[in-house]
Subunit: 694 residues, 2 copies
């Protein structure tokens, strides 16, 4: 029934061969025609613009378990008949569909209803509507009675409707009660007024409604999907670190045991997810040296993204890190601290990866017999072989890639950060995410696709739970406002969940280089308040900000190519900021959603001012309204008048109100829609103000 | 292949029976699955957001013949391969599809192309894309050569591509040239540089491109329709009048001969379409008397919308008007004057209509055996029987309704103004319009649906060429701006063409009642400048403005119920205004489009100020930029500073420019973005200023 806009791919022979052989597209049945052969769509009423949807059902909007899915539709018919409508929906694992009523809202001319999303996984719903014959008849009768008109024919019509409902019951009380009502409606021995009273009895209306089968039940032409995820899919704080740098002994390669010892601090800081770059054996051939040189020294550890050697590939643990048991123990230790483990899923192979020997046809072989390495001409990445997803053996290949994910899921991994998915076929991601989530709907996929918006957003649409964003390159107020105007658009938020990383092993933005520690503080504050999902890459808390060369976004002595042990207790660390903001995020529902971000005016572009409101699209407000001001200048104090949205907050234009800075506990009394703010990076990078209403 | 969101309607047995028996929906084929049975969509690249579309192909966007259809799409693939794309389109009547290239625009990250709409009717198009293997290879080769890298394997890859292209040719020069190129690319006897030069020869690239068959041709999942209409579908001035009032002899029922005599004046005034209320025999039973009384006098002519008596029904001419020959003569006379005739298509029957006797099952029979008359409880319209479009005999019924249209089309009628289509099934309109236009694509359908936007716009989507609008009720500047912000939205203009009638036999707005002649002038000016489609109902030019009672929108002595002969030469008539504006509309391309309306500021809300620009979405600008100011106050002069959009007009902020009032010929010199305007209804209701650029 689902009709979506999936494209078809055909091989050279034009038939459904080659790539497309697995797809057979059956043309939708055409209606019977009259002698002129114009297809005649027959529908009694129109159902259109059903929401929520992404591309009219081609992709699934995202929700979080426990939420209510608000459904709305435009439903109408010719004439004045009353309609009735319902949403038909199915939860994952249910064989049967359930229904919930839709009711008409005059103000918007739309029908609305809802159902509770009580479990994670892929749901489906559609909308049905029909003519409410009894309601139409009853309404007309009431109006005619009020106008003093003769209604004896109307009563006969009502009798027919009641009899029709009665006939559909095989037996029982309902049948006889409906029959009785019909008889009384017809009974010319009764006074007209008495017969009319029978007609208008609420019990009769309820009885008919309970047993009424529509004669023109019309279903929306599309079955719409819905992806319901768990809470942490939409609200979480991420911490990335390399286990191999975790050893307390200088020069020794860190192990999972060492990494375990770092977990209590990370949990104490209030993070939810620990994300590890690839933990698999690392290739030897063309191994990179420190600072990405092509001439490694003996002992250089190489890039974890050059996956695979004689010790195994994507389903193995690098022996230097420990055993598989050590990894599983690490995962249990994390879980005991309330942390989940995210692994890096980098679908590429070093030349030493086992698959290169066992499945050479999973790669691209060049005319000289060599295997194609990764490149973006004239750049070459000879330590990486890209996988050929369109191999002749792709059934086995795709299954093997999927099985890697399942392997780690079975060992306690709940989340995958996917490396550069935009360099692998989109069709593969669409399939593998659905396939894994069919059995494990709790698995979260984060897309690391720093690419143009079309691709970045399509990956979100086709199934990625979360997406890296352009945040690192948005540092001024205009940049932040413009970027978030686009990426907080309600239509985009239906399928996209941005995870604002402040830095990554690949990205040290010059704002941090030039801004130093105050810049790190303000960017962390921004990330954690602008978005329910954010992350840092370890070292951030120590304000590590030396690039490999001026103007480069690469770190000097990048941890991608060498061990980087750290003393997290070093003076000047940002732990207090991290702990404080993560606590506030957990306490404040307004920070746990993406749809409530509203920028407001600030007379000084160096001070960004925005609200995270407590009102949702439905239901009572939760928590506090928050007003957040951030000084975007790491070098010195900035002051401004901010424009407080007093109308939206219900605060009135001329009365005082109190705001409390959750960062410091300090309270301020403001009045009206302008407030003075001064922020000194020597003290705090911003205010996170809750509107005090108690 | 077309997959749209048409709803399904099922009968009580739940099967495709009853209403839905003509619709058989074949589920779309599912792709082959792996052992986990997750459907695996396979596509090499993504094609999405193809425009233009209305509801992703469910309905057809509207265009005008001679225009270029600009197509755009988001097309992308994983990795860095170069893509190629084309639009595949088919004109009505063509067996074969044609193609036109799409090219990539970096600024918008979209692919664009176009094709010329050289005939009217229903077109179809879709988008295809594929990997340009040769272009990708060639681009990589160039970069590697520029970087001084070894390219001998690359040359072998190029040879393989050339050989592949050669193999696909059966014979001929292309085959041998491609083979030769492949040989030379492989020839290790040649210097690398020479082989590279062969690779980069433009002729070789052209040869490969001409004979390249993609190995991953991917088609957008939807075949998108396009409705191309003739010019007057989108740009025309309408004049409505009742032929029965055309007699020069007082009291005599007018005939088509009399009506013919009115045509030269109408043509001279510059109108394009003459629209006649129903011309069919009028029912006797429950005939309405003057001013809609239920007690007619003998000789009362009744309402033309109560169609049918012993003289015939919808395919007959009321004998009082003349014969069918007289009607056809009238049509020819109109055509000779450059006018087309629009008839009123009112699908309802008086109790005396022939169908009531010959096809009683085409109506709704009540339990007492009587036929259901029109009603909206408690209001009754006993002179009208609504048709039961869901009759058991609906095949014959729908065919008969369609045949009425064809009957008049065959007698020279090109346009139908459809009475209250929102009281008849939408599915009927969707079918009958398509069916008639399949044989007669030139036929225009105007929807008279004064109803809520959802329904009004759905009728436009499903095929009505033009739609009556809310114009009569929009008299203040805020009302006009708000209404047109919604109804000039680009997405709405894809399917909706508003025809701004200033008045109708049913609607005399109190603005005209209280405003008198100056109000008539200003409202006509508004209608004819805001929209390429507008109309008046005769009597407007004589400023007829007496309602049946204060506050009513009905005319006193409404022509719906009695003859209304007029002396169009009476003093104070508006003919000069009508003639002048219709002439200007024909001379000014900017007034012939709906998509170029932009409101601009005016410091006085009584003066509405807007632009109709000369730049289209594509192609060179046509005609002049127009700036239009209208005094909305019929009672006295108003003055204001208007805000001229000098940037958009390319006029600069500090230099003088000249505007010429096309209404009076007077020129004004303005400077910068503010201009003084004073309008006195005693003289002119507004300015229609062209920006002088010569």
């Amino acid at each position: 029934m689902n009709e979506t806009n999936e494209p078809t791919t055909r091989g050279r022979d034009g038939a459904a061969s080659g790539l497309a052989r697995e797809r057979r597209r059956t043309p939708r049945g055409t209606p019977a025609t009259d002698e002129r052969s114009t297809p005649r769509p027959l529908y009694a009423l129109v159902i259109e613009d059903v929401r929520p949807h992404v591309d009219l059902g081609r992709h699934a909007p995202k929700r979080v378990v426990g939420q209510t899915c608000e459904v709305s539709a435009a439903i109408f018919k010719d004439g004045h008949d009353l309609l009735a409508a319902r949403v038909r929906y199915r939860a994952p694992g249910d064989a049967a569909w359930r229904v919930a009523p839709l009711t008409y809202l005059h103000d918007t001319d739309r029908w609305i209803g809802s159902f509770v999303l009580d479990r994670i996984g892929r749901w489906a719903f559609t909308v049905e509507a029909w003519t409410d014959r009894w309601g139409t008849w009853r309404s007309g009768l009431e109006k005619k009675l009020a106008a003093g008109q003769d209604v004896h024919v109307e009563l006969l019509e009502g009798a027919e409707l009641a009899e029709g409902a009665a006939r559909r019951q095989r037996f029982g009380e309902a049948r006889s009660r409906l029959q009785q009502a019909a008889t009384r409606l017809r009974d010319t021995g009764l006074a007209l007024a008495d017969r009319a009273r029978v007609a208008l009895e609420p019990e009769l209306t309820a009885l008919v409604a309970a047993h009424y089968a529509p004669d023109d039940l019309t279903t929306y032409g599309v079955e719409l999907p819905l992806q319901v995820d768990r809470e942490r899919a939409a609200f979480a704080s991420w911490y990335e670190f390399f286990p191999r740098s975790a050893s307390p002994e200088p020069g020794r390669h860190g192990t999972f045991r060492d990494a375990e010892a770092l977990l209590p601090r990370i949990a104490d800081l209030g993070f939810d997810v620990v994300y590890l770059p690839p933990i698999h054996p690392i290739g030897h051939t063309f191994r990179k040296g420190r600072n990405n040189t092509l001439t490694p020294e003996p002992g250089d550890v190489g890039s974890p993204w050059a996956i695979g050697n004689e010790d195994g590939g994507h389903d193995a643990v690098a022996p230097e890190l420990g055993t598989l048991d050590d990894f599983e123990r690490f995962v249990r230790a994390a879980r005991a601290l309330g942390l989940e483990v995210a692994l890096d899923y980098a679908l590429q192979c070093s030349p030493d990866h086992p698959w290169v020997k066992t499945h050479p046809d999973w790669f691209t072989v060049r005319p000289d017999g060599s295997i194609q390495y990764a490149e973006n001409p004239p750049k070459k990445y000879q330590d990486i072989y890209p996988i050929n997803f369109w191999s002749e053996d792709r059934d086995a290949l795709w299954a093997a890639c999927r099985d890697v994910l399942l392997f780690w899921v079975e060992r306690g991994v709940t989340t995958f950060r996917v490396d550069n998915p935009h360099t692998k076929p989109f069709a593969f991601w669409e399939w593998v995410i659905r396939d894994v989530q069919a059995a494990h709907p709790e698995v979260v996929f984060l897309s690391e696709a720093f690419t143009r918006p079309n691709k970045l957003l399509n990956l979100a649409k086709l199934g990625f739970t979360q997406s890296y964003t352009y945040f690192t390159w948005k540092n001024t107020a205009p940049q932040l406002r413009e970027w978030l105007a686009e990426f907080s658009d309600p239509a985009v938020l239906e399928h996209y969940r941005g995870n604002l990383f402040t830095n990554t092993p690949d990205i040290l933005h010059e704002f941090l280089v030039h801004g130093g520690r105050p810049a790190f503080r303000l960017r962390h504050l921004l990330a954690g308040t602008l978005s329910p999902l954010y992350g840092i890459y370890s070292g951030y808390e120590l304000a590590e900000n030396v690039p490999v060369r001026p103007g480069s976004e690469e770190y000097l002595d990048s941890e991608k190519y060498q061990l980087r042990p750290r003393d997290f207790s070093a003076p000047g660390n940002l732990d207090a900021d991290l702990r404080r903001l993560n606590r506030i995020r957990r306490e404040q529902p307004a920070l746990q959603r993406a749809d409530n971000l509203r920028f407001h005016g600030s007379d000084n572009d160096q001070v960004l001012f925005f609200a995270k409101g407590r009102h949702g699209l439905s239901g009572p407000p939760r928590g506090d309204d928050l007003l957040i001001a951030v000084n975007l200048d790491p070098h010195g104090p900035q002051e401004t008048m901010v424009h407080v949205p007093v109308d939206e907050l219900g605060l009135g234009h001329d009365r005082e109100y109190v705001v409390e800075d959750l960062l410091t506990g300090v309270r301020y009394t403001w009045r009206g829609n302008r407030a003075y703010v001064r922020l000194d990076p020597a003290h705090e990078p911003g205010h996170v103000l809750r509107v005090v209403r108690e």
